[in-house]
Symmetry: C2
Subunit: 418 residues, 2 copies
């Protein structure tokens, strides 16, 4: 090598990963699936491509700068998803969404724990809890995208699903914080205690609620000040500084950085940027979009790259994957019980909550990065089972949701009414 430039290695990988993401995404779209599914599968193919025992692209899965760039992608995605909702909307979705969300978190968590305890009796309770946690969070992005594709994004079912998905994202993140905090305490030699879990849960709740309350108060003032700045790219830089600073703070108190990124997205509202937009700048969502288009596919392709298809060869992993898929789908059907409003298509709500997507993968990624007694909490074979669960739950949702909505014979009028 002539240049000892770490940038060169990374850009070669990024060029390949971006192209693979677009080709995979395109194929997925052509068969009426979300693009994210194709990105994952493209990554799986790249990572498992092997010529005479040499996997040429496997090294990308272990390149630290690429891992960090993909991690920024996950932050940007959660920030972007957070931007799509406001704290006010979350408070307004009311009892139905809250009930749907709680049922959609409690049952999958319990079922995931049970499946893990059943199939991996030797593993610690932390592993069971982590697997339960990966089953909790509905993918807001995938659900919203599917409803949009079906032209049903303003239906009552859509509102309930999206509201609940937002709430159970937060609940899931709190669970992730509690579980991973408990693991860290155990790794540091502190014994497992309900007290430590309660304390960590409280810290997580205090952070999320605190970030939201302070954020709602501070964000308009921050952007009033920022709008006085004259340079180029102030809106992007200040918003992402807030996102990164909250992500860093979350991590500092033991939460996953994505908790902070999501909270930052929630507290920011279009209203805060009116000074920027009125002087001809683009809205924050439009500005974040190209950044997300660059970084987010890197995250999904990397997740695919890390999926070791060889791990499926061992029967245990496939058994785990199959069991996780079943409880992931069944668990979310409990959500339908939370719908007390008459005339709402309960089946569609249950199905709409199925896709786990990015959040489940992020949870599994956090678990893969945590070690307990020198062993990763989520090992390669468990990780692959989670990825398979994400792939299948993502794959079944679009056709199933379409079927459930058409089955109820919703007229276009009834969609527009609400």
């Amino acid at each position: 090598m002539v240049h000892v430039d770490p940038v060169a290695v990374v850009v070669g990988g990024l060029a390949l990963m971006l192209l693979a993401a677009k080709l995979g995404g395109e194929l997925a779209i052509r068969v009426k699936q979300p693009a994210v599914l194709g990105e994952l599968i493209a990554g799986i193919l790249l990572g498992n491509l092997s010529f005479g025992g040499v996997a040429p692209f496997h090294a990308l899965a272990e390149n630290e700068p690429i891992e960090v760039i993909a991690g920024l992608g996950a932050l940007i995605l959660l920030f972007e998803v957070g931007l799509e909702s406001t704290v006010g909307q979350m408070l307004k979705v009311g009892l139905t969404s809250l009930l749907v969300a709680i049922l959609g978190v409690v049952l999958p968590f319990a079922l995931g724990w049970a499946v893990s305890a059943w199939l991996m009796p030797g593993a610690s309770a932390y592993v069971h809890a982590f697997i339960g946690a990966t089953l909790t969070a509905t993918s807001v992005g995938i659900t919203a995208r599917v409803l949009q594709d079906l032209g049903a994004s303003r239906s009552p079912e859509a509102r309930i699903i999206l509201g609940a998905a937002v709430i159970d994202d937060v609940l899931g993140l709190v669970i992730l914080g509690a579980v991973s905090g408990a693991i860290a305490a155990a790794a540091a030699g502190t014994p497992f205690s309900a007290w430590s879990v309660a304390r960590i849960t409280a810290t997580a709740l205090v952070f999320v609620v605190g970030a939201l309350v302070i954020g709602v108060y501070a964000a308009p003032r921050l952007f009033s000040v920022a709008s006085l700045l004259n340079g180029r790219g102030v809106l992007v830089a200040v918003s992402l500084s807030l996102c990164f600073a909250l992500a860093w703070t979350a991590s500092l108190i033991g939460l996953a950085p994505i908790v902070g990124a999501f909270a930052a997205g929630l507290v920011l509202e279009d209203m805060h940027f009116k000074d920027f937009v009125s002087r001809g700048e683009r809205s924050l969502e439009e500005l974040i979009r190209p950044i997300s288009d660059l970084l987010v596919p890197i995250f999904f392709v990397l997740m695919g790259l890390r999926t070791d298809l060889g791990a499926f060869a061992s029967g245990g992993s496939l058994e785990l994957a199959a069991a996780l898929i079943v409880v992931a789908i069944i668990g979310k059907q409990a959500c339908a019980l939370g719908v007390t409003k008459p005339g709402v298509n309960r089946l569609a709500v249950g199905i709409g909550m199925i896709p786990r997507g990015e959040v489940g993968l992020i949870f599994a990624g956090v678990g893969a990065g945590l070690t307990l007694d020198g062993v990763p909490v989520i090992g390669p074979s468990t990780f692959s089972a989670v990825v398979l669960m994400v792939i299948v739950t993502t794959l079944v949702t679009p056709p199933a949701l379409k079927w459930s909505l058409e089955r109820a014979n919703m007229s276009p009028r009834s969609k527009v009414q609400l």
Copy 2:
């Protein structure tokens, strides 16, 4: 630390660097200087901040993922600058710009070599050549921005300066390729020979010309195919894949990755994206802008962070800095001799070519990353002198250019005429 997450460390640094960039940029703009100057100075302040001997932010200067993210910023900047010109415009600027460009490369290179040989008689010829190279390339971005601020971006002087700046960017990049290639050959034990320099120069020219010729032919076809893709963010992903792939190829044959990024920007034209724009998407320049707003300031702040003010304490470095500043300014005045067209403000052309900005820093950064006999080609003290040269040439240009244009008493009419 609860989470062993490399992403958390990086996002903390990025939040700080982005805020520092915006505050520094704002202060620079308030005193009518380009924002990039404030970003550099903000980085210098952060990197040299010290409490009782502890520099809290100095570690950011050595974080590899941040280095890679900053490196992506440099690529995106050169890609963006390349996008602002087309291959056709470069061919059209004609003899005047070419003459101005050649004079603006040859004389600063020779003077830089002479100053280096004079003040550092013990250093190898490679060091002299590298310092000469850092003086060659005019900063297209800074020049264009200053002319725009002065409302003179359509004047004949502006056209000549911008055309010449584009050409001498390419010439400078070829020189960088030749010089760093020669150093790599020497590091590998190959003796220094005019033949190896000629071969590397030829390789560099073949790459640049080849990338441009193939790119001009292939780009429209690439984007016709890409426009058939349905997913979100296709334009961003395909364009940046091309940018990253050419950067990687450039590095593979021994050139700096930025050569490829710049070539990718040059071959892409708005025309190629008409299928995307006609279906309501933003133009590529608009899409790249937020990405650049995020990544480019990281590059400049990191460059500042790496500037060791302590290095200035040694007399030699300040002497070198002063000498480099003098030859950087004088060297570019030779450009005026290339202007044969009557009625053109030759003084303004010479002054407009002064700012070195990002390209000089990128060159110095490449030199800092190259080692010869275990010693970096551009050591910390030389690097600081180059940064000081960049700061001063950037700082003197706006007032001097304003003065030279007003001195010639250009009326608003004469600006619009051309």
